[in-house]
């Protein structure tokens, strides 16, 4: 659908000297490739939806799960798979905090900060993790330790409010977390 580009007379370019390029928060992943089995699974998944576009989030989840983040190459691959313009997929990646634009650590610590957990000191647990891992306790969004082992991030309700505060380390759920428990969780991450 690319309309022809017609050569257009030069614009005056007044006051454009200080213009900045289109911001690009996406990471490069030059070796990005999707194995054939995964392509087959995803292509089958796409058929579940009335429109290919509706499978966008599922494909993004699959990529995030496999690589830990969504790179520029991944966005363009998904867009091509769904016959969309890359901007359509890019919008989603920036909208949902569960998609990461930078590589994440081997262990991903998600700390709930919604009401019940917040009332039961989940902020202290976040603070604790950050200090132990050399991260900024007041930093915004997901932060990854220098050695690339850990990513710490606040998330919203993990649906276990009765046992607050709760955290999730990769796919493992930990309830009624205390600072001592938090240390144990970290120690277990090897």
């Amino acid at each position: 659908m690319n309309p022809q580009t017609i050569s257009t007379p030069q614009a005056a370019d007044a006051g454009t000297a200080s213009a900045i390029p289109i911001p690009n928060p996406l990471c490069e992943q030059p070796d990005f490739s999707v194995p054939a089995e995964m392509v087959a699974v995803l292509d089958e998944l796409i058929t579940h939806y009335p429109r290919k576009r509706s499978a966008s989030l599922m494909l993004l989840h699959a990529v995030e799960e496999r690589y830990g983040y969504v790179s520029r190459q991944a966005v363009e691959w998904i867009a091509a798979r769904l016959e969309l313009a890359p901007i359509n997929v890019y919008e989603l990646v920036t909208f949902y905090p569960m998609f990461h634009r930078q590589p994440t650590g081997r262990f991903h610590l998600r700390i709930c900060r919604t009401l019940s957990c917040a009332l039961r000191d989940s902020y202290k647990i976040h603070d604790h993790f950050c200090r132990k891992l050399g991260l900024d306790p007041h930093g915004h969004g997901a932060q990854t330790s220098k050695d690339g082992m850990f990513t710490v991030e606040f998330v919203e309700c993990l649906a276990s409010c009765g046992t607050a505060p709760v955290i999730q380390c990769n796919d493992t759920f930990h309830e009624e977390v205390t600072l001592e428990k938090a240390d144990k969780i970290l120690e277990g991450c090897k």
């Binding site: 017609i6 007044a14 200080s18 909208f95």
Partner: protein
């Protein structure tokens, strides 16, 4: 007017069922459906259309009659009520016999809410005013308020609605969210994300009208930001229409950015001359300098758009090389002359030219009136005539392959050969054989179209009128400086036969004059025929003589022109 047989009237659409609604107590009857702005398919009429039908203004940002409805800005909120129904599905009546109206407890967005029979729309209640004030307060929370350096200031909907519906002071004490400023969105556009109110008009235009899904909103909440995909600049031939569509100063044209405060611009109705479509434009000028073209609405030609190619093609008008002096050449010596002394000389020389020894080439960029007068001159000498075809790639929206604005006019007046350009070879041959001794050229450099300098040197008399100097004017015995279209009035006939007029925006420089004026001076002496004095009269005279224009008058052209059969 009696015989308008040839003027096409648009086909009358099939009658649509009408609905009666009330807007602020005034009854209005509107069709139940109206054509969709993009697809043309009938869709239910909305409240805002009903309001506009009786000229009640409903402030709006995201709604645009030619874009899909998005309903995201909430500026158009109104209150409404519908007739109350009894259990028997019959309207409940008031004691006085009128239908009892149940006012909806919640407001509705006028741009996306279909009307229903008997509906009452209230656009001016205290609640509506309160809502508008609230929406504007939200819109201004993170707005940078940099109107003093904003190109949109003076034609900005955020300013206008703030004056009409906003508050006088801000209650916002927190820190504003900052977003990227001066983003180089594409080769012709700079984006200031802080000014954006996220109406998505730009996204919808390029996606749904142009078919180039190039823009989107990234991030969330108050961090929402318009962008193109990183590394993929926003670059299609219609991109600058988003600058017009943008209700605020977020999208700015690199060409116009920081050039002129818009309130100083004089606006003149004109036409684009860069192709045979003839998009209707408004010329923005100040003190005889032109600053921009903006598209002007014309449903039969360009809707509300124009292409970037045409929009930016105006710098030649202020080219410092412009021809501004009448020049007379005798042998190798060229002398600067003036109209007063040059015209009688020219008339005398032309008068002595024998029939059959003259050729006339008039550009299809000249106005129909000019071509008509040139054709009169040509007929007097039984001259061979032609125009120069000019083509380029067409696109899927407006841009036409015919890059002359008035090819149809050149055909109507009989000046162009069939097919256009087929006489150019004959004229070259005639000069070579010595049969053609006089050549009159308007608006073309014939050395680039097969009549080289060697041939021109053989002529007894070469008369050239143009805007910019070229190889032909360099050799001409008489150089007559002409006008750009923005410096004169006239008509063009587009490729579909739409006859349209354009008005004068700025004064020509130096001695340059509208071609019609000096042709009118020349004709009586040379041919004995006197043209009507006014341009209106000349057009009407011409319309009477050209079969295709029968029944068309200058007055009937109005602002949007008349369609004739070609």
């Amino acid at each position: 007017m009696s015989t308008n047989a040839k003027i096409e009237t648009p086909p009358t659409p099939a009658p649509v069922e009408k609905i009666k609604v009330k807007v602020d107590g005034r009854e209005v009857e509107v069709p139940k459906t109206m054509p969709d702005g993009v697809t043309g398919k009938p869709v239910p009429t909305t409240m805002i259309q009903a309001c506009h039908a009786i000229k009640v203004e409903v402030p709006h940002y995201c709604y645009h009659p030619r874009l899909p409805v998005a309903g995201n800005c909430r500026m158009c909120l109104v209150e409404f009520g519908t007739p109350a129904m009894g259990p028997d599905r019959k309207p409940i009546l008031n004691p006085d016999g009128t239908a009892k109206i149940l006012k909806s407890p919640r407001p509705a967005i006028a741009c996306a809410t279909p009307i229903s029979p008997g509906m009452e729309i209230y656009t001016n209640t205290p609640n509506v005013r309160f809502m508008r004030e609230g929406i504007l307060e939200f819109l201004l929370i993170n707005h940078p308020l940099d109107c003093p350096i904003c190109d949109q200031a003076g034609e900005c909907k955020l300013q206008e609605y703030s004056v009409d519906h906003g508050q006088t002071s801000s209650r916002f004490a927190e820190i504003k969210v900052h977003k990227p400023k001066r983003v180089d969105l594409g080769p012709r556009i700079i984006l200031d994300d802080e000014r954006c109110i996220l109406c998505t008009r730009c996204i919808r235009f390029t996606r749904d009208v142009v078919g180039d899904d190039a823009l989107g909103i990234v991030n969330r909440g108050s961090y929402n930001t318009i962008t193109a995909y990183p590394g993929k600049p926003f670059d299609n031939n219609y991109s600058l229409n988003t600058v017009d569509l943008c209700p605020v100063g977020a999208l700015t044209s690199k060409d116009f950015r920081f050039q002129m405060r818009v309130w100083f611009l004089k606006e003149t109705k004109s036409l684009c001359t860069s192709c045979g479509t003839g998009c209707n434009v408004v010329v923005g000028s100040r003190e005889d300098r032109m600053f921009r073209y903006k598209p002007r609405e014309n449903d039969s030609v360009n809707a509300t758009w124009m292409c970037d190619h045409g929009r930016l093609n105006y710098r030649w008008i202020h080219n410092p090389e412009r021809l501004v002096q009448v020049t007379v050449r005798n042998g190798a010596a060229a002398t600067v002359s003036d109209w007063k002394s040059a015209m009688p000389q020219l008339a005398a020389r032309l008068k002595s030219a024998a029939p059959g020894t003259v050729a006339v080439i008039g550009s299809a960029r000249q106005t129909t009136e000019e071509l008509f007068l040139l054709a009169k001159l040509a007929r007097h000498f039984q001259a061979v005539t032609d125009s120069v075809p000019r083509t380029g790639p067409a696109d899927h929206l407006l841009l036409n392959a015919d890059r002359n604005p008035n090819s149809t006019g050149a055909v109507f007046t009989g000046l162009a050969a069939t097919p256009m350009g087929s006489n150019l070879g004959k004229i070259a041959e005639g000069i070579r054989s010595g049969r053609i001794k006089t050549l009159i050229v308007f608006g073309e450099d014939v050395t680039r179209h097969g009549i080289g300098a060697d041939l021109l040197a053989r002529l007894d008399l070469l008369v050239a009128s143009d805007i910019l100097p070229n190889a032909t004017t360099k050799l001409a015995h008489f150089v007559l400086p002409g006008c750009a279209h923005v410096e004169k009035r006239g008509t063009f006939v587009n490729v579909k036969g739409h006859v349209q007029k354009f008005m004068k925006a700025i004064e020509p420089k130096g001695d340059a004059r509208a071609e019609v004026e000096f042709l009118k001076e020349l004709l009586p002496t040379v041919t004995g025929w006197t043209a009507p004095r006014s341009l209106e009269g000349l057009f009407n005279q011409m319309a009477g003589e050209i079969p295709a224009l029968q029944g068309v008058t200058w007055a009937a052209l109005g602002d949007t022109g008349v369609r004739v059969q070609i």
